[in-house]
Amino acid sequence: MNRFYVLLGVLAVVLGIAVLALLRTGGTAPAAAAGPPPTVADDGFRGYSLGQANAPVEITEYLDFECPVCASFATIQMPTIKEQLVNPGRVRWRYRDFPLPVHKYSRFAAHAAQCAGAQGKFFEMHDQLFNHHQWAQTGKDPSDLFRSFALSSGVDLNAYDACMVAGRYAQRIEFSRQEGDQRLVDGTPTFFANGKKLDFRRLPGSDDFKAIADSIIAHSPRH
């Protein structure tokens, strides 16, 4: 009987240590992907873009994946903008990262999107991050949730994990943020139309962008 309780006690200690080790090695969001890099380099990348290369209007959006207004814009306005402006070839939409320091996981989310983008799944991951935006309200480490998003996006998880742990695109994201600083981006989302900053007093809608595109196209040399 005594031997049994010794065995039970030893097993409890071993299992307790194993669980603690699992929780520790499970880790939090990899620091290389979640934090700013020590150095910044320009790899020539200027953001993923939607739409035709010869579209007369290019809208550049500086976004933060943890920003609720960006999520609202992505889920409510973008479907109409894609349908009315991007798909007909009138507008090309370019995404640039501008992770705000007040958001704990926005840089990590941007990195997740870049790692998915390396496998040709940026837009799928972008949609997952914004369509299931509850992660931004919980304050919980979203590492496993983002892996689930990556999986749903059709991303190979081995390559994704390696990319995230290495923080492969941390410098690219920081470069984009510094570029935003230079262009006087002061919040998210901030938009530029053919390089000119757009000032809105409220969150713009699809009609606003339609009017902007109409105006630019009407004043372009071809018209």
């Binding site: 065995l7 039970l8 409890a12 499970g26 880790g27 969001a29 919980t138 999986l151």
Partner: protein
């Protein structure tokens, strides 16, 4: 006595499996350790990972703890000859076993993903149920023969 000891040991292992999954559901420890398939994330982040407002793993912690406590109580000197402990162990194990069948069906036919930790827990509760039933049958066999 041996089967009650085996149940206690199995329940202890199950308790720590459930504890890990519960702590993970509460946000401790980051990504779940589950290989590269992502199946655990799919299961853990599905709508079925919460039952009656609480993480499913929490019910596992409570269930395994109950089995462990009853098994240990049944191993007291005075409780060894008492048969009702076996009935209690079979009852608790059966509830856990049925709940596991329900969860495994969800994984197979609704979520379409199999989490290794859930499979581990399912194996443990199945083993507990088998040992508990064998223990009860053995007691009944002894009873009818005496």
């Amino acid at each position: 006595m041996r089967h009650r000891q085996a149940i206690a040991l199995l329940a202890l292992v199950g308790l720590f499996v459930a504890l890990y999954l519960w702590l993970h559901a509460l946000g401790f420890g980051g990504a779940i350790k589950c290989g590269a398939s992502g199946a655990c994330e799919t299961v853990q982040t599905s709508q079925w990972a919460v039952f009656l407002g609480l993480p499913v793993a929490f019910y596992g912690v409570v269930g395994y703890l109950a089995v462990l406590v009853v098994a240990l109580a049944s191993l007291r000197e005075a409780a060894l000859p008492q048969r009702h402990w076996n009935v209690m162990l079979v009852g608790l194990a059966s509830v856990g076993f049925l709940f596991t069948i329900y969860l495994t069906c969800l994984e197979l036919f609704v979520i379409h993903a199999i989490c290794r930790w859930c499979v581990g827990s399912a194996a443990i509760i199945t083993a507990i149920w088998v040992v508990a039933v064998l223990g009860l049958r053995r007691e009944w066999g002894v009873g009818s023969g005496s």
